[in-house]
């Protein structure tokens, strides 16, 4: 008898289990997706765009989007503990900005809450078609990982009663990658009597010997400088030093731009290719920059310590300037060993 009773209980239990699992199938909403403008935890001002297909139905008045942590199954307990952030009930910050397919919906003011958006409209049938609803001013959940949206359409105007169709969507909030790098400020500047190309490492020296200065002859020579920088306001090259001196005796510097005149003591320079005398070269190289006006006239020379001799107002690749140095002496120029140290200073402005 005990065996029969056990068999009876097993059969009854089986029937109860079966009946519990047999439930009415609700029409699914196929092709469900959710696009977001940000998947970052707690991001604000995010747009959510829902897309799915609705079936033909005689009356659809409301659509529900319920955000849950635990599962995507409409009708089941919804765990909203990860703090979804839209609240149409209190501050009305959520708005619907686009709707396609079935249209005419607005946000239900009282059925919507912190984790639930309810769209409502007047009674209207639906046709089988794709639909889309886009919301803005959503604040993402405060918890990373997978979350769910339960979507349901209803014949009632407030997402109550039996769902006409339903479906779930899973989406994920995650980390974002921040990439960083540094581009340091560059200023390449070098001087020599001669460089090979634009290579600062190829300088051939920094000493110019004019030889014997004579009143019936013009002495001249040249030196080169290379500049390059990523300074966004460019560079300025200035010249410093003294004119040629020998003890207390000097060869006067050209304080204003002048041509070279034999028999007159003068020292000057410019940054152009000259024909009188034949010395110098035009600026060259892939970079940019020009001699200053006072040092940019061929066959006219000047030397005023502290003068700016070349400038550029933006970044520049390598630019080579050739400085032409010209010396004349008067017949009465005091004898001696005349020398000068010329210093160039290049400043980049970032």
């Amino acid at each position: 008898m005990r065996s029969l009773l056990q068999l009876y209980l097993v059969v009854i239990s089986f029937l109860l289990v079966c009946s519990a699992n047999i439930y009415a199938q609700i029409t699914p909403l196929p092709n469900r997706s959710l696009q977001m403008t940000s998947s970052v935890v707690s991001a604000s001002g995010v747009r959510y765009s829902f897309n799915f297909n609705v079936p033909a139905a005689p009356n659809v008045q409301s659509i529900e989007f319920e955000f849950c942590d635990n599962n995507p199954f409409p009708g089941q307990f919804c765990d909203e503990s990860s703090n979804y952030g839209f609240d149409t009930r209190h501050d009305n910050d959520l708005t619907i900005i686009n709707q396609t397919g079935e249209t005419g919906f607005s946000i239900h003011p009282t059925s919507s809450n912190e984790n639930r958006i309810v769209l409502t409209r007047s009674a209207s049938p639906t046709v089988s078609q794709p639909v889309g609803y886009e919301f803005e001013n959503i604040i993402n959940s405060s918890v990373a990982g997978t979350h769910y949206v339960r979507v349901g359409i209803y014949s009632s105007n407030d997402a109550t009663g039996t769902r006409v169709a339903e479906g779930g969507i899973a989406y994920s909030l995650n980390e974002r990658i921040t990439l960083s790098s540094e581009v340091p400020p560059y200023l390449i500047f070098c001087t020599s009597t001669r460089f090979s190309g634009n290579d600062c490492n190829s300088g051939e020296g920094n000493y110019i010997n004019f030889g014997i200065l004579k009143s019936d002859n013009t002495s001249y020579s040249q030196s080169e400088m290379i500049v390059g920088t990523n300074a966004e306001s460019g560079y300025t090259i200035s010249v410093h030093g003294t004119t040629l001196t020998s003890g207390n005796n000097t060869i006067a510097n050209l304080s204003s731009r002048q041509t070279s005149l034999k028999g007159i003591s003068q020292y000057g320079m410019n940054l152009r290719a000259n024909s009188s005398p034949t010395v110098g070269a035009e600026p060259s190289g892939p970079g940019a920059g020009s001699p200053s006006a006072e040092y940019s006239v061929a066959n006219q020379y000047k030397f005023v310590p502290g003068d700016t001799i070349a400038t550029h107002n933006y970044t520049s690749d390598y630019r080579k300037f050739t400085a032409s140095h010209v010396v004349n002496v008067a017949a009465g120029q005091a004898p001696g060993r005349y020398a000068a140290t010329i210093t160039y200073i290049c400043l980049a402005t970032y």
């Binding site: 439930y23 977001m36 779930g168 994920s172 974002r176 540094e182 690749d317």
Partner: protein, 406 residues
């Protein structure tokens, strides 16, 4: 009262006696069927036992006794009351027994396709003898000897009886003549329709998507917010190309139409206000993004040190597959962070209407429209600068969004 007075042991003996009597009555019933031999073993297979099911295939399989069995015709009769050959047969087609005359035109050959095994010659449905509850088949020419043969006869378009959980019977009869009068063998079979148990389960929509740094995991993403491109100090120079290959994306989804990954963000930019970062071409505050930025899709180019470039390729696999222009399956493999001299194609498509600066970003990978178990892909970012690239701290914050279509 009598039952109450009986002991448990007496009740068991009474049950045994009842079973013996029942067995004897069946034996008697079997022996009084007819003088013909019984086809044994025999069975009837139903493609579906659901009540009212249509288009159901029925198959009778039986073994003919090992005696000379010259056979010309056969009957397969459905009865609601009994399988015993000698008893009268009650049957209402489609109600308490199956219906084989689907279109109710008193012809069965136009409803059913006959198939057989173990028979030779041409056997056809005999419309003159068949009814809605009886299949009669006949051999076109002379009878054949089915001595000891195992025979299967099938028809394919039967409508089951309408009543659930109800037994019905089939009687097999074999004749040696064309008039279905000289019976040589027979046998009865019991069958039943049955209620179908509907079992249901739910599989929830799943999309697990995360970004982490190589060596990490979804739960421990690592230093995703402090990734550098450059030398050990994150410094770029015009003589060397640098890559960062630390970012990993991981995805798993059961979305029936698969999932895609979109990337949102700008190229490397030094403008802290962000105002100038959205310029899609060369700009003083940005590292020029690689590839065409014109609408219609980006393109990819190789790295050239000394040329301002920022791009990405994805070291992917066939299931989490990079989307063009980030999908150089040949060159974008085996890349590690640091200086780079390879020939992979990189791109960073920032077009404001459909690229990474579009509202929902630019698609960079997909699962090919199908669900996918966990797969990972590595994001490789490349940066080159020119000599004149303006100094500063360049950075970008890239957001990755996984979207499944369920």
């Amino acid at each position: 009262m009598l039952v109450k007075k009986m002991s448990g042991k007496s009740l068991i003996w009474l049950q045994i006696a009842a079973l013996v009597l029942t067995s004897i009555s069946v034996f008697w019933a079997s022996t009084e069927q007819s003088a013909a031999g019984m086809v044994t073993p025999r069975k009837m297979d139903m493609e579906s036992s659901a009540s009212g099911a249509t288009g159901v295939t029925y198959s009778w399989t039986f073994t003919v006794p090992s005696v000379p069995s010259s056979t010309r015709t056969m009957e397969f009769l459905f009865c609601a009351n009994s399988p015993i050959i000698s008893m009268s047969c009650t049957a209402t087609a489609g109600t308490d027994v199956p219906d084989i005359d689907i279109d109710n035109d008193n012809a069965e050959a136009d409803d059913q396709t006959l198939s057989t095994s173990g028979l030779t010659g041409t056997w056809t449905i005999d419309d003159t003898q068949s009814t809605a509850t009886k299949l009669a088949i006949t051999r076109a020419t002379a009878a054949e000897d089915l001595n000891g043969a195992t025979v299967t006869v099938s028809i394919n378009n039967v409508t089951n009886q309408a009543t659930t959980n109800t037994s019905f019977y089939s009687r097999i009869r074999m004749y040696s003549d064309t008039g279905y009068s000289t019976e040589i063998h027979n046998g009865g079979i019991a069958a039943s329709t049955a209620a179908q148990i509907t079992l249901s389960g739910k599989v929830q929509e799943t999309l697990v998507f995360c970004i982490y740094i190589s060596g990490g995991s979804c739960g421990t993403p690592g230093a995703v917010s402090t990734q550098q491109i450059g030398d050990s100090d994150g410094v770029l120079d015009s003589s060397t190309s640098y890559v960062n290959a630390e970012g990993v994306m991981s995805m798993r989804t059961n979305a029936s139409s698969g999932a895609v990954v979109n990337m949102i963000g700008t190229t490397l930019c030094r403008d802290s206000s962000g105002t100038n970062c959205t310029n899609t071409g060369a700009h003083a505050d940005t590292i020029t993004p690689m590839g065409s930025q014109l609408a219609g899709g980006g393109s990819a180019t190789t790295s050239t040190a000394g040329t301002e470039q920022f791009g990405m390729c994805i070291m992917d696999n066939t299931t989490l597959d990079a989307t063009a222009p980030y999908d150089d399956d040949t060159g974008c493999t085996g890349i590690t962070s640091g200086s780079y001299t390879g020939s992979a194609n990189f791109s960073f498509y920032t077009n404001a209407s459909e690229g990474t600066q579009a509202l929902y970003g630019d698609e960079i990978a997909s699962t090919g429209g199908a669900p996918m178990d966990t797969q990972t892909a590595t994001l490789v970012f490349l940066a080159n600068v020119e000599f004149t690239t303006q100094p500063g701290l360049y950075d970008t914050v890239l957001t990755f969004v996984g979207t499944g279509t369920f």
